[in-house]
């Protein structure tokens, strides 16, 4: 009898709950293994700092993936927007820099979305092509870090309110906004509909092209915000900050780790937040135990594949 109750309980648990359960397990493990050091202010702040940029990108990526698309160009876009912001802020014009970076993001998102929907190019190839285009421009114009952000803007990257860094608040804000869009607005329902079955959505009167373009614009905007955050941390723009961080594939991995189906139509923001936190907590734990950084990659690969294998099992049963 109790077995049945347990069974139905675990059945009712979505992937998002599973990832938070895993997060809890790793936290407990960290507290046991790492002791006071793991629960210290430094570690807690570190986890938030580390996850904020990836978290923001992954929220945007969630939108693209939910709509049945994906965006490989976020990493180079982060580099590009960090440079645009830092160059424009060199004269002290913070608002101009932010606006410039976000405008560039919107443009890139529009082009991605338009190429995918109007020219019928597979999202993988369209955003890979966009990656090459931006990479070429970056390599052509920059050899290294450029521009400078004023001290006031650097506070975005380093200030904190109590134990919570401003960057984590920014991440939370972005997550809340996207959660609202997905669960409380028509656009959100349309995104799920298009990701679930684009033909059915179209026949039900959804302008599917427009929905896909919107998700790509929002996804690029998130990458632009992450670029601003990284520019404020570095104090300048850098042409490789996005690709060095591996934000393209890592953000997709975090989304999938959070239980969002790669084929689209199923999942949400909460799971992605859990996925990003899980990756960051694992990272902190490994740092604490002074685990070799290459070993970290191996574990990360295994965790991602194993998690998806588990989700698929659950969906089938």
């Amino acid at each position: 009898m109790s077995e049945r109750v347990l069974g139905s309980l675990s059945l009712r648990m979505g992937p998002a709950q599973v990832v938070f359960l895993a997060l809890l397990a790793v936290l407990v493990l960290g507290a046991i293994v790492g002791g006071a050091e793991f629960m210290s202010m430094e570690t807690v702040v570190g986890i938030q700092q580390r996850s904020a940029a990836l978290g923001i990108v992954a929220i945007g990526q969630t939108l693209a993936i939910l709509a049945g698309s994906l965006d490989l160009s976020v990493a180079v876009l982060i580099s590009l927007t960090s440079l645009v912001a830092a160059e424009m802020m060199e004269s002290g014009n913070v608002a101009g820099g932010v606006a410039g970076a976000l405008a560039v993001s919107v443009l890139v998102g529009l082009v991605n979305g338009a190429v995918i929907t109007k020219f019928k190019v597979h999202a993988f190839i369209a955003t890979l092509g966009m990656t090459l285009v931006i990479k070429g421009v970056l390599d052509h114009l920059y050899d290294g870090p450029a521009g400078r952000v004023p001290d006031s803007f650097q506070r975005l990257g380093y200030d904190r309110i109590g134990p919570i860094p401003v960057s984590a608040l920014l991440w939370a804000g972005v997550a809340l906004a996207v959660w609202f869009i997905l669960t409380r607005t028509r656009t959100g329902y349309r995104i799920y509909a298009v990701g679930g079955d684009v033909e059915v959505a179209r026949l039900s009167g959804v302008r599917t092209d427009r929905v896909v373009i919107i998700t790509h614009v929002l996804c690029s905007l998130c990458a632009g915000i992450a670029g601003l955050l990284l520019a404020s941390r570095l104090g300048a723009g850098a042409p490789t900050v996005g690709t060095d961080g591996g934000y393209d594939l890592e953000s997709i991995a975090a989304v999938v780790l959070g239980g969002t189906a790669l084929a689209g139509g199923r999942g949400g923001v909460a799971g992605t937040v859990g996925g990003v936190l899980l990756l960051a907590v694992l990272d902190s734990l490994f740092n604490l135990l002074e685990v070799n950084s290459f070993f970290k990659d191996v574990v990360r690969g295994v965790v991602i594949v194993a998690a998806v294998a588990v989700y698929v099992r659950r969906r089938k049963s």
Partner: protein, 310 residues
């Protein structure tokens, strides 16, 4: 239209010949073929995976692993060459097998499986070598990538084998699997086995490409970087549909030649360095978009004549 990519290839080669007639001579042409050979082999392997409806993102890191492992194990010792070569092929086969099994039996999307494999492979090999490649390749090992005749011969053998494979029953079941998995399964295709074999072929192709690149490009931690994207791009340029079920392996290999010709041409015309990427990106999108425009004809919309038949 199936082989439209070869028209593009001939145009590109003609443009190269205008700037540098050396390519019209046998030596110049063979040098070009040799440069393209590793990518052609990777594209041939990737074709099998893509046409079955999957991705293989792990080939770039597999190439790096092959080269780094070879250098460490051979360490300049000629006698170790052949056993290590066998081991490298076995490694490629094993990685492909794991990719295939995880994708089909555990039902993990191949994008994630092979992405995880990419992290695992690159992490594991540098864990083993302590962060930087060590050791050296033997003279015999280097010949496969460095000697033009060897490189071209290997490529031709791989290419012919790939074509024969697609012409055999396996090729037809593979396309059926990629086109409509359920229909294929209901008509008696062993879908799982077919897909696993496709991943094994891709792993083997990456092993061969790695062996050649070790001799051609030397030992470095970056030797395979980005090759997975180049291989997928080449296959797609050849008109093979992502999502599976459509396309020919000959055209996929033609796509790889075209990509290599494009690099050569951009270099020749001095658009070297940075903006090369930009142009490459635009061309790839444009080429795929041009291919997609013709797609509607292939969708099974009822034609006028069909109304009477049904």
């Amino acid at each position: 239209m199936k082989y439209a990519i070869f028209v593009v290839l001939v145009l590109l080669l003609a443009a190269i010949a205008l700037a540098n007639p050396f390519i019209l001579e046998p030596a110049g042409f063979l040098a070009f073929v040799k440069r393209a050979a590793p990518l052609v082999i990777l594209a041939a392997g990737q074709y099998f995976v893509i046409v079955s409806g999957e991705f293989d993102l792990s080939v770039g890191s597999l190439v790096t692993v092959e080269v780094v492992v070879a250098a460490r194990l051979i360490d300049g010792n000629e006698a170790a060459t052949w056993p290590v070569l066998a081991l490298l092929l076995a490694l490629g086969l094993l990685v492909g097998l794991v990719n295939g099994v995880v994708t089909t039996l555990l039902r993990v999307p191949s994008f994630i499986t092979t992405l995880g494999m990419m992290l695992i492979l690159s992490g594991a090999v540098f864990l083993w070598t302590g962060g930087a490649p060590r050791g050296a390749l033997s003279q015999t090992f280097r010949i496969f990538g460095r000697d033009t005749l060897y490189a071209v011969a290997i490529m031709v053998v791989v290419g012919v084998a790939a074509v024969l494979l697609t012409r055999a029953t396996y090729g037809r079941t593979l396309i059926a699997t990629g086109d409509n998995e359920r229909a294929a399964a209901l008509s008696g295709v062993r879908v799982t086995r077919t897909r696993i074999l496709a991943f094994v072929i891709s792993g083997l192709a990456a092993a061969v490409a790695g062996i050649m690149l070790g001799g051609f490009a030397g030992v470095s931690a970056q030797v395979g970087q980005g090759l997975e994207f180049s291989a997928i791009t080449a296959v797609v340029l050849g008109g093979v549909a992502l999502g599976g079920g459509r396309g020919s392996v000959v055209a996929a290999m033609g796509g790889a030649f075209t990509l290599e010709a494009m690099f050569t041409l951009l270099n020749l015309y001095g658009i070297s360095g940075a903006l090369e990427y930009t142009l490459q990106g635009v061309i790839i999108i444009a080429a795929v978009a041009a291919g997609a425009v013709q797609l509607p004809r292939l969708t099974p919309t009822p034609r006028k004549g069909d109304a009477h038949a049904s």
